[in-house]
């Protein structure tokens, strides 16, 4: 190890002194070909192929299969029944199913509020941490902890915190507000249960938004603030015309990542409410799971899955275009 390192160092020295940087940059292809009898193109595929093969086998092939199934009446619990093509009827059924539109609305509500709360809290925290008070690194690490944990395992425990009467959450709320702790059920009541999942998601993922915002704030060079100081711009003015616009691309990125993730949300909601009470918190992924693995309408579920994928993909692309515009400004 040590030997190879010193070797590398000496090698680098000679190269930069003898060849100079420009020459070295211009030479890679011929050298590689000369030294080994294998062409660069073959070499490139040797490096990339295993990954592509794996992705083709475990991602693309199943995806194509799902597209095929979405045009059939296949049911996974009856593998031996004859498969019949049904054209686009799966798609039209999915798009005309009021339950699925209900699930999409539930998902939209969940995505909107989690992103709003996480961005507000996350950015504020990042802004405060960027004041670089003593010990800020330690406290940042502590704040990060929830996002590293399993949403399923920890979400499951929140069910305990949300118990009426004995749950810690209800106890703290009643302690602060004076409402009796057994008078409200976070998971069991129709108006409160969407907020129960929003609270857990915000608790878990605010640190992520905070980190990306922090990276954004730290990317703003000091001299811009110094120039603003010289111009006697107020702090308020500096925040709105320097800090926020320069951090905006990062904030938008955080929103994109959280948006995609929460659009797919499954694990935490499954364990907290299972979509209940009734279907109050039934987000798209839970509906999809019920169609595919409880009703076993595989064809229809595949159609729904593809519609979801196209929706995420399309929205993400539009959003990335907007993001690039903001970046160019």
């Amino acid at each position: 190890m040590l030997r190879s390192k010193t070797q590398v160092k000496s090698v680098t020295d000679t190269s930069s002194s003898i060849l100079g940087e420009g020459v070295a940059r211009a030479t890679p292809a011929p050298i590689a070909t000369r030294i080994r009898g294998i062409s660069d193109r073959a070499m490139a595929w040797l490096f990339i192929a295993p990954t592509i093969v794996l992705l083709l086998a475990v991602n693309i092939f199943p995806l194509i299969w799902a597209v095929y199934l979405s045009f059939t009446n296949f049911r996974a619990n009856r593998p031996n029944a004859p498969i019949e093509g049904v054209g686009l009827s799966n798609y039209s059924r999915v798009l005309n199913d009021p339950n699925i539109w209900q699930a999409m609305q539930t998902t939209a509500h969940f995505v909107f509020w989690t992103i709003l709360l996480q961005t507000l809290i996350g950015f504020s925290l990042a802004y405060l941490i960027d004041r670089k008070f003593r010990g800020h690194a330690l406290w940042t690490t502590i704040i990060l902890v929830p996002m590293m944990l399993s949403p399923a395992v920890v979400g499951n425990f929140w069910r305990f915190l949300y118990q009426p009467q004995i749950g810690l959450f209800n106890y703290i709320v009643s302690f602060v507000t004076g409402i009796p702790p057994s008078s409200f059920e976070m998971l069991g009541s129709v108006p409160l249960s969407p907020w129960a999942i929003i609270i857990v998601d915000t608790w878990m993922w605010t640190p992520y938004v905070m980190l990306i915002c922090l990276a954004g704030l730290r990317s703003i060079p000091d001299y811009i603030y110094e120039a603003a100081e010289v111009d006697r711009a107020s702090l308020w003015r500096q925040f709105w015309s320097i800090t926020l616009p320069m951090a905006l691309p990062f904030i938008m990125l955080a929103v994109l990542f959280r948006g995609i993730e929460n659009f797919k949300m499954f694990d935490m909601v499954t364990l907290l409410t299972g979509g209940g009470p009734g279907s109050t918190t039934e987000v798209a992924s839970i509906t999809l799971k019920r169609e595919a693995f409880e009703s076993w309408r595989t064809g229809r579920a595949s159609a729904f899955a593809i519609i979801l994928f196209v929706a995420v993909f399309g929205l993400a692309n539009i959003y990335v275009k907007a993001l690039n515009k903001v970046k160019q400004r």
Binding site: S15, M43, I48, W65, A66, K132, T141, P207, F293
Partner: protein, 317 residues
Amino acid sequence: MSSVNSAHSVVAPGATSKRIAATIVIAYALITMVPLVWIVMTSFKSPPDSISYPPKVVFQPTLEGYCNLFTTRTRQTSDYIASLGAPTSTCDEITRSRNMVIAGPSNYWPRFQNSLVIAFGSTFLAVSLGTFAAYGFSRFKVPLAEDLLFFILSTRMMPPIAVAIPIYLMYRELGLSDTALGMILLYTAVNVSLAVWLLKGFIDEIPREYEEAAMIDGYTRMQAFFKVVLPQATTGIAATAIFCLIFAWNEYAFAVLLTSGAAQTAPPFIPTIIGEGGQDWPAVAAGTTIFVVPILVFTVLLRKQLLRGITFGAVRK
């Protein structure tokens, strides 16, 4: 945000604004820790203590939750228990005090082992494949490289349930359902996209001149890759590995749909831990604590790499 009299410079925030910032951040950090502290506390409570009202902050700690987590128990008459010899372990003693005897080990430990095997196996594979592919994309002119990279990344936009439907059918055909190998392959495929994306960024930063110089010295491309590029990319590889590991360790949706017994991991198992008359919360808390502690340790020890990885991935995209 900060008070007017401290507003001389944002470049070096004033003492008052620092103090206010520190107070709010520390308050948030403490509040955010409450649920986690409560998990650990509950794991050391006896079942009656765990469901008492008001919630108990001071209590007599016991290992009952951990005993219940690792064992299955059957109820016996007190005469039968009295007829047994002296208890052989602490758990034995606690169980007998509840008029029960230990019937055997629970499924927690096998599930935990599955989690270890699948998480580390898939991380190793994803990072190895990802390093090779990232090097390929970084150093060679790959036709359609941008499209391929985007395609690799876009596979992560699929909702897991959507992926799970065809995977479920495919694994059923191939006999990979409920096997560790099947789960390792699946997690590797999910993780490799992120791994390639992150690692390409890290490898792009290593000057090409290093390998070129080594190859002039007589190294082959492969030797140059292993002896020059890999040592330089260690930080990036470590950061990527942590991400893959955390994903595979925490994953629930695929695990609950594609595994049911032999290869089931801990996340789908922990919520199913029940005692007599409902969920055995101290045992659930104990299972959660044991499951979460490795990640906690990771987070604290490797926070620098983690931070770099998260923000780096964001900046690149």
